[in-house]
């Protein structure tokens, strides 16, 4: 169990996030609805605050800022490489050659692993099958996207730059 200061920080962040969602989704700002929102957010923040905020974490603001920049690069990669999948599916000869590859990374925290797994699943050519303690098992649809993960390692380096876990 963490100390009292860590728990208070988690409860406060969860309460603010839930109240923000309530106000943005409802749109009515009179006393009854805002009061009900505060009561519901407080109950949920007290019950399940340790699902959202794990411990203190250092340099959260810097990591969030770099994460937004990484998101912009990744959206461009998604649009650019989805044309590749469309070409492979609609071609009359269907040039696919599936294989299963396995590689190792240096990321260890939860957020970094989830970000890399989602990025691998969203950029066409590869889907994550299993993660075991830093080792990724990936199913690739052809040789070219598999090489982009194994040999170039652009995506792993960018995610390691965001979360600072070389």
């Amino acid at each position: 169990m963490k100390g009292k200061a860590g728990q208070g920080f988690g409860i406060l962040v969860t309460f603010c996030a839930m109240l923000l969602f309530w106000l943005l989704l409802s749109g009515i700002f009179d006393a009854l609805h805002v009061g009900a929102g505060i009561i519901c957010s407080a109950i949920i923040a007290l019950i399940s605050h340790d699902l959202l905020v794990k411990g203190k974490g250092e340099k959260m603001l810097l990591k969030s800022f770099r994460f937004v920049i990484y998101l912009g690069w990744e959206l461009w990669q998604i649009v650019l490489a989805n044309f590749d999948v469309a070409y492979r599916v609609l071609h009359p000869k269907m040039p696919i050659d599936p294989l299963i590859i396995e590689f190792d990374t240096s990321l260890r925290s939860d957020f970094a692993l989830v970000t890399l797994a989602n990025s691998i699943t969203l950029t066409p050519g590869t889907i994550t099958i299993d993660i075991k303690d830093g080792k990724f098992l990936v199913h690739a649809i052809a040789k070219k996207p598999a090489d982009a993960l194994l040999v170039d390692k652009t995506m792993q380096n960018k995610v390691a730059d965001v979360y600072m876990e070389w």
């Binding site: 943005l24 989704l25 749109g27 998604i78 649009v79 989805n82 999948v85 469309a86 599916v89 609609l90 269907m94 696919i96 050659d97 599936p98 299963i100 797994a117 989602n118 699943t121 969203l122 066409p124 050519g125 889907i127 994550t128 099958i129 299993d130 098992l137 199913h139 649809i141």
Partner: protein
């Protein structure tokens, strides 16, 4: 304005093209793992493009309710997080249960 209507139509047309690619891939590809490739990626992008086009339409035609585009933005973020996770979960279940992948040169499954 006419120019915004043309942009919205372009976004919707691109979205529906990607959705058709996803469904054609679901019917045509020879194996379970490759079918998940087609649907898990093209479906997500097609949906995001269509909802983004509708968001632009709402901002130009109904400017007195600015909270509805925020709701549509939540929907876009949720689809970006949820669809790849569901694809990965079902692929992991299939791999651990023993479905064999397809190599080049075998017959359709």
């Amino acid at each position: 304005m006419v120019i915004i209507d043309v942009i919205v139509t372009l976004f919707l047309a691109a979205g529906i093209f990607f959705m058709f690619t996803g469904v054609v891939g679901l019917l045509r590809l020879p194996d379970f793992y490759t079918r998940l490739h087609a649907t898990g990626k093209c479906d997500t992008l097609g949906e995001v493009l269509i909802i983004f086009g509708l968001l632009i339409y709402h901002l130009s035609h109904y400017p007195e309710t600015p909270l509805v585009p925020v709701k549509l933005l939540f929907l876009i973020v949720f689809i970006f997080l949820a669809n790849p996770t569901a694809t990965h979960a079902i692929m992991k279940a299939a791999y651990n249960t023993g479905v064999k992948p397809w190599k080049l040169g075998e017959e359709r499954k």
